[in-house]
């Protein structure tokens, strides 16, 4: 039972719930902006999950300074590689969100509606 109250498990649970909420939002919401928000939640959840996988028990941030002895760094710091990949993923998530909001803006200009049900051009 104690394993459910560790730092990394709480972080992983938060990421997992955000992933599920994001998918739910993307599938059920009718408002285009809310779909974009669902996507943002999905990316955030994914990032939190990756960072919590990278965490090592009782470790510190992978920055070598007074707190981290350089000779013993391998036993003191968290894994820097997933953190670097999450940095990439955050920036790309930002770009994609900006792009989707731009599409929403354009679609709204066409039909003056944010409801997904009024866009039936690709439906048969």
């Amino acid at each position: 039972m104690t394993q459910f109250f560790t730092l990394e498990f709480i972080a992983m649970f938060t990421g997992f719930m955000l992933l599920v909420i994001g998918v739910w939002g993307m599938l059920t919401q009718k408002n285009l902006i809310k779909i974009v928000i669902g996507f943002s939640l999905f990316t955030t959840g994914l990032n939190i999950a990756i960072v919590s996988i990278a965490y090592i028990k009782n470790s510190t941030a992978p920055i070598l300074d007074k707190a981290v002895d350089m000779a013993n760094a391998g036993n003191l710091v968290a894994d820097p590689l997933p953190q670097a990949l999450v940095l990439t993923s955050i920036v790309i998530g930002l770009g994609v969100t900006a792009l989707m909001l731009t599409y929403v803006l354009r679609m709204y200009k066409e039909k003056k509606s944010l409801d997904i049900n009024s866009y039936t051009d690709l439906k048969w």
Partner: protein, 233 residues
């Protein structure tokens, strides 16, 4: 009804697929061999105190080049989609007047925010932060400026110049790594210097300054395109 059932089915399927991520998650006790190599030899090989920066800029520098390209593409597509053809110049005057508190505060805060952004990307190899974070902080300063003065005009030539020069500079430094050091984007084209000082870690500070300028100008471009749509008829 069928639609709701399908949505439920997809959700349940999704949760089932990723549930082992949560159920079997135990947390790591120690680093895997690759991360151990980064932690133990990163300082000697790259010279950056911030190991995340060492991975982002040097070990996986090629990924970062791709990331910068994706951001550039996103900014270009946003600019393309929001291109304002029928600009209405009279509309600008009809925007609601900005509160005086915001205008006064922004004249004080905007330069400070820019300075913080520059500080963050110059110290990217020593402290938490780096080019992307610093560029994003600079863009938040731009948001404040747009909110305080909605009619502000950005110098597009300067933005495009900054963006292209920093992008080309990034690639040139990468190619110099092939010519002068071990490979593409190798940071040892410059001496590694004293560990933990501002001018150290070879080419990493230069690359991060270039990335910071590029990200800042790209995000400003996106903001500016979004702002310009207000003037459309």
């Amino acid at each position: 009804m069928i639609k709701k059932g399908l949505i439920l089915l997809i959700l349940v399927g999704f949760v089932t697929i990723i549930s082992s991520l949560l159920i079997n998650f135990k947390g790591n006790e120690e680093l895997n061999p690759l991360a151990r190599h980064y932690a133990e030899h990163g300082a000697a090989e790259v010279g950056a105190a911030n190991l995340v920066t060492a991975v982002v800029v040097t070990y996986r520098g090629f990924d970062t080049l791709g990331e910068v390209t994706i951001l550039f593409l996103a900014a270009a597509i946003v600019g393309f989609f929001l291109k304002v053809n029928n600009r209405d110049n009279e509309r600008e005057a009809s925007l609601r007047k900005t509160s005086e508190i915001l205008i006064t505060a922004s004249t004080l805060l905007v330069p400070t925010i820019f300075m913080l952004g520059v500080y963050i990307f110059m110290n990217g190899h020593l402290t938490p932060g780096g080019g992307f974070q610093g560029g994003a902080v600079i863009a938040t300063g731009m948001v404040l400026m747009i909110m305080a003065k909605p009619n502000v005009k950005f110098n597009h030539k300067l933005l495009a110049f900054l963006e292209s020069v920093s992008g080309v500079g990034f690639v040139i430094i990468g190619v110099l790594g092939v010519l002068l050091a071990a490979g593409f984007l190798d940071n040892r084209i410059l001496p590694l210097g004293n560990f933990g000082t501002l001018i150290s870690a070879g080419a990493i500070p230069i690359i991060y300054v270039l990335i910071g300028l590029k990200v800042g100008s790209e995000l400003t471009n996106i903001l500016d395109s979004l702002k310009e749509t207000q003037n459309e008829k």
